[in-house]
Subunit: 128 residues, 10 copies
């Protein structure tokens, strides 16, 4: 069991002439609560319109696993992952939705978006 | 069994430079019917775009419990909780939806919103 | 078993300074088919943005029961109930959706709306 | 609108040489609460193994409607309908399940069975 | 078993002063494939905003049955039924959605709309 | 469009040394009501343990279509189809369940079984 | 708001000559955790075959409410309620299933049964 | 087993005077992963507003099968199929959504659109 | 893309002293129809009580893929796979259920079982 | 973040005179694949009939967390957890069902049971 690499790999967008959307659902995100040390679990839903780069599936998986032993607050970690993915791929649009498991009887979901200045969708999108 | 504190705690928004959305589903709200004294039950669904402050999860739970022995009408209590949460966090946008259990064969839901003057969502939102 | 009163009771809106929405689902509407005399059943879904008045729950239930022995066509009765409720409460916006049980292999739903001249929703609404 | 006949019609079982099962789901049963006069609603689920007679669909519908203006307790009315249907058709086996709508926050279902002495199912049945 | 009449009957709209919506779901449409002669099955979903006329339920059922022995392609028959219904009732708006059963491993749905020139919905509608 | 053959084709059971179960769900059964001439629709669920013969899929489809223009009562037609299929394949066990669409507000299902004298299932079966 | 009576009322079984089953689903049970004082929530599912007595619906509701301010462990309170109900009605058979809301990421359900010595069901029952 | 033709057949749009929508769900797409050679599976959802031509169902099925032995990346193959279908039918609007089965714990969906310059929908559409 | 090995690998049962059950759901089975050459798709559900050997996951996946280019009838292929798996692992009990996609409007499922002579389950099992 | 204790705590069964059932659903089990080091996820479903001891909820949670950094095969770890829980509580009956997330396109579930010699359930149980 070696420590996984957490570097996000990219590959060239095969259809850069067109705005299209890639969605990835990742039901196996886990990190630790910084206050109590107990495991937290979430389903991540990533949606992006690539510009010149796409994120490679396997490196995304390893990147996600790298949070398994880290302490992370819900609001901060969602914004951090979005920022990492946007920095790696410079997309036209990107949205990350993180649905956390219930804690203290409360279910928390965080949704954050990144968009290139001036980009608008040909077909309107709305918040899920 | 001590009386819980009902003071809403806050913490600094970790990503104030960006509009993003926090959703919390609270299926365990309970108060008393002011007319009959019988328990009422509701699921609360809170959604907000924080500005400089976020609401802390545990204090939110205690605040919600503080209604357990109070008489409260559906329409009034939903607006009161929204007002308390908006006062504590001064969000860019906040919506509270309260789904009450059936009474007299009728299911009641109340939805109220608060927004900073002039705030608009980059990605359009609609009423759930 | 006394004849129920069918007068709609009202009470002052506890948060008239804000546009908010009240939804009521009433799964136990029943009337008679004017052609055949057979019972018809529907689920009513009421949604309104109150102005100065709200409709009282128990009187709404009695009002709904008053249709139990009346003959009523689907399209007409939906518009009649909407008109009665709008007359009683003078809301900013009101919508009534009536989902009737299958008859002759066909499921019928009728949706009617009332709005104060010039009223628009801060958060856009769409037809359900 | 004439008063419907409530007499249960029967017809000869077209396959009396074989044990087989007829199930009927009737989602539109309504009667009145003997205490409060308020309408009660239930879904009836009838299941029977006919002997020499089957119950005719249209007369069953009219029989069910005949309870619309009668006061009836949950436990008693379920047993009464089962007794009427069993008397009309003398089945090898008959079960009636009545799922009543929520009252006072409690959902009630009543299940009653009738069987000819000594009858057993070739394929075992269990309580639903 | 007589041949059913296929003439669509109409009746006056009981609330012509208001834009409202009538929806009818018809799960029992059947016609024949013109190529193979095999039966096709579809669920039709009709939605319209009446002007001066509404379509009568029973004649609609008989009209739908009249396709049972006719050969009909998916795209053509959906547009034909919409045209017939729009001609009979001259609605402000009408949409017909036909969901056909799977054929060759592919599920086909056709959606067509008719609207009076210049008509717009007070509450926005979108394609289902 | 030629008249389909209604002869049930068979083929040798490829594993006659073992009791195993074949289930077929046929959602597109249609016949005519003998009283009113109106189309009836049902989903058939066939389950059988073959002995020496299996029923061929395409001929089963054509056989099912042959009821499209026939008048047939629910109870009788279910028993007739079971008898035809059992006569064609002489199975160790066969069950036919027919779920008819709602008529007069009542949903009817008929379940009939055939078994070789003395056959019992190694793993117990129960009525669905 | 007066303190509710917690005495279980009974009434005579209207069909004591027959074994039949009464099921009640009570989604609004709430008590307090004896360790932390936090509210616990459960859905209770009661099922019984009455002998000479049935439990009255309204008194059952008040009895259930009486736990709202009591500390109670999951396993103990389920057995206590079953014992109270069995003592009040002396049923032929009684089962209580309590589904508690998630605590610490774990969902707990407790199922307990009472039966008269020697009683067996004509139609076999199994554990839900 | 002959090699299927992969040429997309077309037929004239039967209602070219009107914008309407054809949707096809194809749950049986399969290709091979170019890296590992393992089979990939996807459900394709095609939606288009035809101009002068429609795509013929059977040739679409054969075209889809032609990918069964080809290596194909998720993002590229979705754009390729959309391009082929748009080239064959020159539609006013076309969208292809491909939902791939889970790989490495991640579910991927790709959505691409094509539209004639200047075309807009009379009834607004949004991204599914 | 190399041709996958289709040899089923095994490993020693880690708990041979106890009867326990392993279930595997394989939603990606595909073969070819021997008559038409068209792809068929099925979900396989395997359930077994191991004796001394368990089937290794990755080799099972490769074995399943080996059917991708083979012609296979529904009834025969289900029995063949069961026979192969039972030969490789010599289980106390094994059941294979294959749910095939709709063909000709009919959904087919085949269920076959293997058991060691004299084996019985401590907790009764029934046919799913 | 301290290392959690993994010792299972127990408490006396509050109703030892009666056979009753405790069920716990634990959706947040995670361990590591011994071959690849990648995280595995499962939902555990525990069901037991206590004898003199019950397992304490919080220590169960900590025990479950202790697998987070351990390598563990599906079949072995399910039997190990069952053995630990049975050793700690000496129950009359105990069953553990572990539903693992999909790996290689295959979903695996393992079900193991322990029972005191001679124990039988008053109400029959079957394998879920």
């Amino acid at each position: 069991m070696s420590a996984p690499s957490t570097r996000l790999e990219i590959f060239p967008n095969p259809a850069p002439e067109r705005d299209y959307t890639i969605r990835m659902t990742i039901p196996e995100f886990s990190c630790l609560c910084p206050k109590t040390g107990q495991p937290d679990f979430a389903t991540l839903k990533l949606e992006y319109v690539p510009h010149e780069l796409c994120v490679e599936l396997k490196s995304l998986k390893l990147y996600i696993w790298s949070f398994r032993s880290r302490g992370a607050f819900h609001e901060a970690v969602t914004n951090e992952i979005l920022a990492d993915l946007a920095a790696a791929t410079a997309p036209r649009f990107m949205r990350l939705l993180a649905e956390f498991n219930v804690r203290g009887g409360i279910y928390t979901t965080v949704v954050a978006e990144h968009r290139q200045p001036g980009w608008t969708a040909a077909t309107p999108i709305s918040l899920p």
